[in-house]
């Protein structure tokens, strides 16, 4: 009797495991918080200023800009298909700002390396080579994108071109810069926000 039960168990369990295995090799949605988030403004000269990083919210507009980078992106992205879409999601602190943000927020590929000690003038504080060519950050103007889909207060930016042209194409993960063409400040959720931190999402193919 015990033997029969055991064989019956095997007959049921083994195919079930196979099904689980088959399920695991399908496309996997990926979502990571940007862990390199740095606010820059012409008035902030101290690269280590505490109010420029690890904040609940950031106010973007005028000359306040936000540098965004998922530091482990190259290691995590794996075999992303060139046809896959990669999105950057930013959530506004107030739904009322959606229209303003959708119109004025620009998310652009940064073209030089930088560290968390970056300021409006310096990408990193080591000698002259760390100076931005253009104060406020060096970025690819032609690669800038505006928000596409909006879900509640979350703006979705299609950054696939950046991934293809820089991250995968050149193995360069310099991240993105967010700026606003409006002088009105727009507050977005910061990197210490639990559910609404700036994110990068894509679908990982098997």
């Amino acid at each position: 009797m015990i033997q029969k039960l055991f064989f019956a168990f095997l007959i049921v369990i083994i195919p079930a495991c196979g099904m689980l295995d088959n399920m695991a090799v399908g496309p996997e949605p990926q979502s990571y918080s940007f862990n390199g988030v740095k606010l820059i403004h012409p008035s902030i000269l101290d690269g280590g200023a505490a109010n420029t990083m690890q904040q609940d919210t950031y106010s973007i507009g005028g000359q306040s800009r936000l540098l965004l980078r998922f530091e482990d992106f190259l290691a995590k992205i794996g075999n992303v298909s060139i046809n896959s879409k990669v999105y950057a999601n930013l959530t506004l602190a107030s739904v009322a700002d959606v229209v303003l943000a959708k119109t004025n927020f620009m998310l652009c590929p940064i073209t030089g390396t930088w560290m968390m000690a970056a300021t409006w003038y310096k990408a990193y504080p080591m000698g002259n080579s760390g100076t931005w060519k253009t104060p406020g950050g060096d970025f690819d103007q032609s690669g800038c994108v505006t928000a596409g889909t909006v879900t509640d207060a979350t703006l979705q930016f299609d950054v696939t071109s950046w991934v293809v042209n820089y991250v995968v194409g050149r193995n360069m993960n310099y991240g993105l810069i967010l700026y606003s063409t409006s002088s009105n400040p727009i507050v977005i959720e910061g990197d210490t926000s639990g559910a609404f931190s700036p994110r990068i999402t894509w679908v990982k193919n098997p």
Partner: protein
């Protein structure tokens, strides 16, 4: 027969040996009258003596370098009559015969003439050779031993014995002229150390302040200044070579607040060379004293190990000191936001020269320093900065005013030339060269 006489002479050396002064005595014994010798057995035996000394390569024996020239150029005189032994002058069997008649006299100083007495002309040539050697040694050995009849006789024996060799002479001489007097190495020597030499008052207690200037724009850890309390004590060693231990405590001024800086332990040896140089060897260990929380914000939170050597020469109005050193590689981690950045500091070779002019109590000088660093790298997250090898050329004034046992020193350090991006920040050595692009320092010291 001659050999027997010689052996008798040699055999009685120790019995008669005593410290004497070789020269004229009183009691009318210096009224013998002399004439210069230019031929005869005394002159020819001198030629034989020189030949013997050259065959033994006596010039290469430590302490006997001037023996051959002393004998070759010595003026020889022959007295008209014999002279009897004087108790206080003529002790030792090389000087007198069994009847107390003196063979020869000289003064125990270089180039002093030698007076032979008629009784010496009856000696055999090999006896006269021994006599020339003996009298020559009295004039050419170092002053401390040249009047010691026992030592002079023993060396004479070593040179004139039938089976003499260079090694035998060397062995005998080395008993009385040790290595330290050869000038080959530093150590106990008869060289007088000037009163102003650093080695005379090496221990030091000092307080200083350094103000750093021109920080690199955007730096995350701006150090504005540093207080340093230093003490060095040298309890070990002799007058010519000393060893000591010291430490430096520092307090660094940041923007708006101060924190403890590195604690540096110093181990140093100084010695005075026979050529009159102050020579120092040191090793230092700078220990980071920041807490783990404070360390998060600092790229300088590392330990450093440094080895170096200095050579200094103080002349009447001019002084120069050269320094060669090496700082070993190290590492620190600074966390900015959520990203930890690792600072890898490579080894650094340091050479510098510090010339100065002495004007009364002032020492007015400066320094020129070359630093060659290797492998500086900063990395963290997706960021990597690796400029590779770099150089820094520095210079600045060094002004010191000495009064009693104290000194007030004003120094400046300026970055003259460097490879792109290199500054003192690239070294991460707060207590060494400092940070930013230079500093001005003022220090009060008490020496003892």
């Amino acid at each position: 027969m001659r050999l027997l006489v010689l052996m008798y002479l040699l055999g009685t050396i120790h019995a008669n040996a005593a410290v004497v002064r070789i020269g004229n005595g009183d009691e009318g014994s210096d009224l013998e009258g002399v004439e210069e010798v230019s031929s005869g057995i005394i002159s020819t035996s001198r030629t034989e003596t020189v030949k013997l000394l050259k065959s033994l390569n006596i010039n290469a024996v430590r302490g006997l370098g001037s023996l051959i020239p002393e004998i070759e150029s010595n003026k020889l005189y022959l007295a008209q009559k014999d002279s009897l032994e004087l108790d206080t002058v003529d002790q030792g069997s090389f000087h007198v015969d069994m009847k107390g008649r003196v063979y020869a006299r000289t003064f125990s100083e270089p180039h002093a003439p030698t007076r032979f007495f008629p009784v010496a002309t009856h000696l055999a040539k090999d006896q006269l050779v021994a006599l020339h050697v003996h009298e020559g040694l009295h004039r050419s050995l170092p002053p401390e031993i040249r009047t010691n009849e026992s030592i002079v006789s023993e060396i004479t024996l070593a040179i004139t014995s039938p089976d003499s060799s260079f090694d035998r002479v060397q062995a005998v001489v080395s008993k009385y002229i040790p290595d330290e007097q050869s000038g080959a190495v530093a150590g106990p020597t008869p060289v007088k150390i000037p009163d102003n030499a650093k080695i005379k008052n090496p221990s030091e207690f000092s307080y200083g302040y350094r103000n750093f200037f021109k920080p690199i724009s955007g730096t995350t850890y701006q150090v504005n200044g540093m207080h340093v309390l230093e003490t060095e004590l040298y309890p070990f060693g002799s007058e010519y070579a000393i060893s000591g231990v010291g430490f430096e405590l520092s307090l660094i001024n940041l923007l708006g607040h101060s924190v403890m800086g590195p604690l540096r332990l110093n181990f140093e040896s100084k010695m005075w060379s026979l050529r009159g140089f102050d020579v120092g060897f040191w090793g230092t260990v700078s220990l980071n004293t920041l807490s783990a929380d404070e360390l998060k914000t600092s790229p300088y939170g590392r330990d450093t190990v440094h080895l170096g050597m200095s050579i200094r020469k103080d002349l009447k109005v001019f002084s120069v000191e050269n320094i060669v050193g090496y700082t070993f590689k190290g590492q620190s981690i600074q966390k900015i936001g959520a990203i930890p950045y690792t600072y890898n500091y490579g080894g650094v070779v340091e050479v510098s020269t510090h010339p100065a002019v002495m004007l009364s109590n002032f020492r007015v000088g400066g320094f020129l320093e070359f630093l060659l660093g290797d492998g500086y790298e900063v990395s963290g997250g997706a960021f990597d900065y690796n400029p590779g090898r770099f150089r820094i050329l520095s210079g600045g004034p060094e002004l010191e005013y000495r009064f009693n046992s104290m000194a007030l020193t004003l120094t400046g350090r300026f970055l003259i030339n460097a490879t792109q991006d290199a500054s003192y920040d690239s070294l991460g050595d707060l207590l060494g060269v400092g940070v930013a692009q230079g500093n001005i320092g003022l220090k009060w010291s008490y020496f003892f």
